[in-house]
């Protein structure tokens, strides 16, 4: 069996070498003429993006990863703006969020875009994972692309969680208490407890995770993910009759629509803020992307906050090992798909249950 699918590794023959009988548009001078060397685009190296790709890459389902990336850029942009006014000193965090909402010009809108972008990223990411799983794009040679994706998924969860702890309202205080409880149960978790050091506060360490450590990890993983997609080419058996520059153009267009959508959502449904947090009580539920964890906590107690992520991320990490066939090979292992569907159902059921379940006290359970 060949080790690579059509249009797989080496998918991007150098300019001018692509055979016309492959159905590939030759890298003609006209293609390069579109980006003249003397133009600003030429100087910026845009010509390097002018390579052949399958036309299906321009369809929306193949753009879900790209749209997730646009959402992350929106989060970083708005996050940097918010951070100019946010104060991670525990006594002042809540007030500084109120300040952002009420005194900073466009502050409430920017904060709401940050909130909605985090929500939308979860939706596009969910469908991105579903689509690449459905197409079995995790099979040889794309296992590492998938694993980097799993790392990205975990990092985005980390960002959503640390972001929630910052705002100092009731939800934030409860999230922080969960972080401490979870850290105490995990080996090496001491760094996320207030007693780790007396020189700074836990909130300020979570803030540094949120605004510097995790975004850096995210960017490193994204670079790796993109580099491997470039090396292996997109998983498709079509002839490469489109150009990547067209893809970037379409993605930018859809990205702008996404940003407009975020702007509208933020203007019409601004992000809310709870009352200043009171310690030692649990009266809120987490944001919906965490409700499946909440559901397991309701069933098995505090350990659920470790068990649920281990099961989901563990399953995702194991997928390329469970289904080791090549995507061209016969005998698509239905049981892996079946298992995937089961995990998906459990995930959705957990979220739905979390929405309707009674509010429960988990700390100390």
């Amino acid at each position: 069996m060949s080790s690579s699918a059509p249009n797989d590794a080496g998918a991007v023959p150098s300019a001018g070498t692509i055979a016309a009988h492959d159905g590939v548009v030759p890298d003609s001078s006209s293609a390069h003429a579109a980006v003249p060397e003397h133009s600003i685009a030429g100087r910026l190296g845009v010509r390097a993006l002018d390579y052949a790709i399958p036309p299906s890459a321009n369809r929306l389902p193949y753009m879900l990863g790209g749209l997730t990336f646009v959402g992350l850029l929106a989060l970083i942009g708005t996050g940097v703006l918010l951070d100019q006014f946010f104060n991670p000193e525990p006594l002042s965090a809540y007030d500084s969020v109120v300040y952002i909402m009420t005194r900073v010009p466009l502050g409430n809108w920017v904060r709401s875009i940050h909130y909605w972008a985090a929500t939308v990223v979860f939706v596009t990411l969910f469908f991105h994972i579903l689509y690449v799983f459905w197409r079995r794009s995790y099979t040889r040679p794309r296992e590492v692309t998938w694993w980097l994706g799993v790392g990205l998924f975990i990092t985005v969860f980390g960002l959503m969680f640390t972001g929630t702890t910052l705002k100092g309202d009731q939800e934030a205080v409860e999230a922080l208490a969960h972080a401490v409880a979870g850290a105490k149960m995990s080996p090496g978790g001491a760094v996320l407890t207030p007693d780790f050091t007396s020189s700074t506060t836990l909130l300020s360490r979570l803030h540094s995770l949120h605004v510097s450590v995790l975004p850096l990890v995210l960017l490193a993983l994204v670079l790796g993910h993109f580099a491997l997609i470039r090396v292996h080419g997109i998983h498709s058996h079509e002839a490469k009759t489109a150009r990547f520059t067209q893809h970037v153009r379409r993605l930018t267009a859809f990205g702008l629509f996404l940003c407009a959508g975020l702007g509208i959502l933020a203007a019409v449904f601004p992000a809310v803020l709870g009352h200043p947090g009171v310690e030692g009580v649990e009266v809120t539920k987490p944001a919906w992307p965490f409700l499946w964890i909440y559901a397991v906590e309701n069933t098995v107690g505090m350990t659920g906050m470790l068990i649920a992520p281990i099961v989901l991320f563990g399953f995702l990490a194991a997928v390329p090992l469970l289904d080791r066939g090549h995507d061209q090979g016969a005998g698509r292992p239905r049981w892996v798909m079946g298992l995937g569907m089961l995990v998906l159902l459990a995930y959705i059921a957990g979220i739905v249950y979390g929405v309707f379940a009674p509010q429960m006290q988990h700390l100390g359970m």
Partner: protein, 194 residues
């Protein structure tokens, strides 16, 4: 060199010159004012306490307004005059209803510029009684004054000015129009390629 080549070079030089000018302009305020020194007898106090603020290295015989500025509230303390050495001392009784949080004590010159400043943390009354520098505040001390916990959203009045709405709508329209133009370009581009 060909005329278009020279034109492109000119554009680059102009771009670099404009960027440098913009950086220069942005950096100007950094050097605009000589700062005095303001010290407090304590950097952590509680509402109801009285602080002693001392200024030095300030303009001689100048009138300064003293304020304690928080994120959401500012407490004015009136004016003080520096002596012939550019120094002053003033007692600042912190209002008992001040909310715990991070504040700045500022000395403001007659032209409105901040001449000197120092950070101040107001602790909740109970927590301030703990004489400890070894344990910085964590969430345990946060808003102890607030009454009971609730999941309901706080009723925070946000006023969006008509100017802000114009910017918001402008940016949304810009994104939509930009997207449509790019899509049209992409479609005609792919038609050409095909």
């Amino acid at each position: 060199m060909s005329a278009p080549g020279r034109f492109t070079q000119l554009r680059w030089r102009l771009g670099v010159a404009l960027t440098l000018a913009a950086i220069g302009l942005a950096a100007t305020p950094l050097f605009a004012h000589e700062k005095g020194v303001l010290t407090l007898n304590t950097k952590q106090a509680a509402p109801g306490d009285t602080l002693v603020a001392r200024g030095s290295k300030l303009a001689k015989g100048a009138a300064l307004r003293i304020e304690i500025r928080g994120a959401l509230k500012t407490f004015p303390f009136g004016s003080v005059h520096t002596d012939a050495a550019g120094k002053f001392e003033m007692r600042l009784p912190i209002p008992a209803d001040a909310k715990p949080g991070a504040y700045r004590v500022v000395a403001i010159a007659s032209d409105g510029d901040v001449s000197a400043q120092e950070n101040l943390v107001l602790r909740p009354v109970q927590a301030a009684a703990v004489p400890s520098m070894t344990r910085m505040p964590d969430m345990t001390t946060m808003h102890v004054m607030e009454s009971r916990a609730t999941a309901a959203p706080a009723d925070i009045r946000v006023v969006t000015s008509s100017r802000a709405w114009t910017v918001i709508i402008g940016l949304i329209v810009f994104a939509l129009v930009g997207g449509v133009l790019l899509l049209r370009g992409a479609t005609s581009g792919s038609a050409r390629t095909a």
